[in-house]
Amino acid sequence: MSGTHEHGHHHREPESVLSLRVRALESLLVEKKLVSSEAVDRVVAAYEQDIGPHNGAKVVARAWIDPAYRARLLADGTAAIEELGFGGVDLQVVENTPGVHNLVVCTLCSCYPHALIGLPPVWYKSFEYRSRAVREPRVVLREFGVDLPETTEIRIWDSSAELRYLVLPERPAGTERLAEAELAKLVTRDAMIGVAVVKPPAAAAR
C-alpha cells in the first residue's frame, strides 16, 4: 500500500460521519455495479448467523477413517484438533456408541466450540434448552427427532469457559466407500452437539 494516509484519521470522527461515508460508498459501488445491496445483506446475514460446522466435520470424518487419529482425538482432543490446524480451544471429544449417546449443553451461559462448529444456534443459548437438556434429555432429544431406546445411556456434558465438548457421532451404515471429504459433508452441527445422529447419504439428501 502507498503508506500515505491522507484521509484524515488523525482525529476520531463522529460515528454519524462514518455512517454517512459508508452509505456514500455503498451508493457509489452499487452505481458502478461492483456490488449489490442484496449481496451485502446476504453476506451480513450469513456471517452473523452461522460460520458453519465445517472444521468440526473434518475432525469427525478423519476420526471415522483413521482409527489411530480417533484414539488420539478421544485421548486428547485439544492436541488432536491442532494436528488438523484447529485450535484455540481446550476440547474433550466424547464418542457415541450403540449403547451411549452424548449430549452437550452449557448450563451457565452458551460456551460452545465455535472454532470447530461455528456460531451457536439460538436454541442452544435458550434457557429452555440449558435447563431441560439436563433434567429431561430423553424428551429433549425426542423433540429434536432422536428417539433412543430406553437401554441407551445418555451422558450430558456441561461446557465451560475452560473446557468445550464435541460429540463424535456414529458413522452411519452404508458409508464404507465414501472418501473423507464426502463423509465430512454428512456431519451436521447438530450431530456434533448431540441433538441429531448422522444420516446415511440417501437419507441426508431427502
Binding site: 500500500m1 502507498s2 503508506g3 494516509h5 484521509h7 484519521h9 488523525h10 476520531r12 470522527e13 460515528e15 460521519v17 462514518l18 455512517s19 454517512l20 461515508r21 459508508v22 452509505r23 456514500a24 460508498l25 455503498e26 451508493s27 457509489l28 459501488l29 458502478k32 461492483l34 456490488v35 449489490s36 445491496s37 449481496a39 451485502v40 445483506d41 446476504r42 453476506v43 451480513v44 450469513a46 456471517y47 452473523e48 452461522d50 460460520i51 458453519g52 465445517h54 472444521n55 451461559c109 452458551s110 460452545y112 465455535h114 472454532a115 461455528g118 456460531l119 451457536p120
Partner: protein, 112 residues
C-alpha cells in the same frame, strides 16, 4: 456463494481478527455491518483477493496503533477498504468525498 462463510475471512487471526462476542460477530452500529458486507461480497465476486484486503487492514491497524489512535476496528476497516479500492482504481477518493457531502446535506437519501 454468498451464503457460505469463507474460513479465510471468518478465521482471521491477530489484530485483523473480526470482533466477536462469545464467538459471534459484533457490529456495534449498522454501518459496520454494511462495510463488512460490501468488502466480503466484493471479494466473493473476485474484485480482489481476500489476502490483499487483509494486508491493507493489518497495515491500517498498525498505523493507527503506532499513532495512538482510538479509532474502532471497523473505522480502520473502512480506511483500509477505501485504500484498496483506490489502489485497484475502483474508486476515486474525490467522488466519495463528494457523495458523502451529498448525503450529509440531504441532497441524497438512499437508505441501505
Amino acid at each position: 456463494m454468498d451464503a457460505v462463510p469463507n474460513r479465510e475471512i471468518a478465521d482471521m487471526k491477530g489484530a485483523a481478527a473480526l470482533p466477536r462476542k462469545n464467538g459471534e460477530l459484533v457490529f456495534d452500529e449498522a454501518w459496520q455491518g454494511r462495510i463488512f458486507g460490501m468488502t466480503v461480497a466484493m471479494s466473493h465476486d473476485a474484485c480482489f483477493a481476500w489476502r490483499n484486503f487483509q494486508s491493507h487492514l493489518i497495515d491500517e491497524i498498525g498505523h493507527a496503533e503506532r499513532g495512538g489512535e482510538s479509532t474502532s476496528y471497523y473505522e480502520r476497516w473502512l480506511h483500509a477498504f477505501e485504500q484498496l479500492l483506490a489502489d485497484k482504481g475502483l474508486l476515486d477518493a474525490g467522488a466519495l468525498d463528494e457523495r458523502t457531502r451529498e448525503f450529509e446535506s440531504g441532497r441524497r437519501d438512499d437508505v441501505f
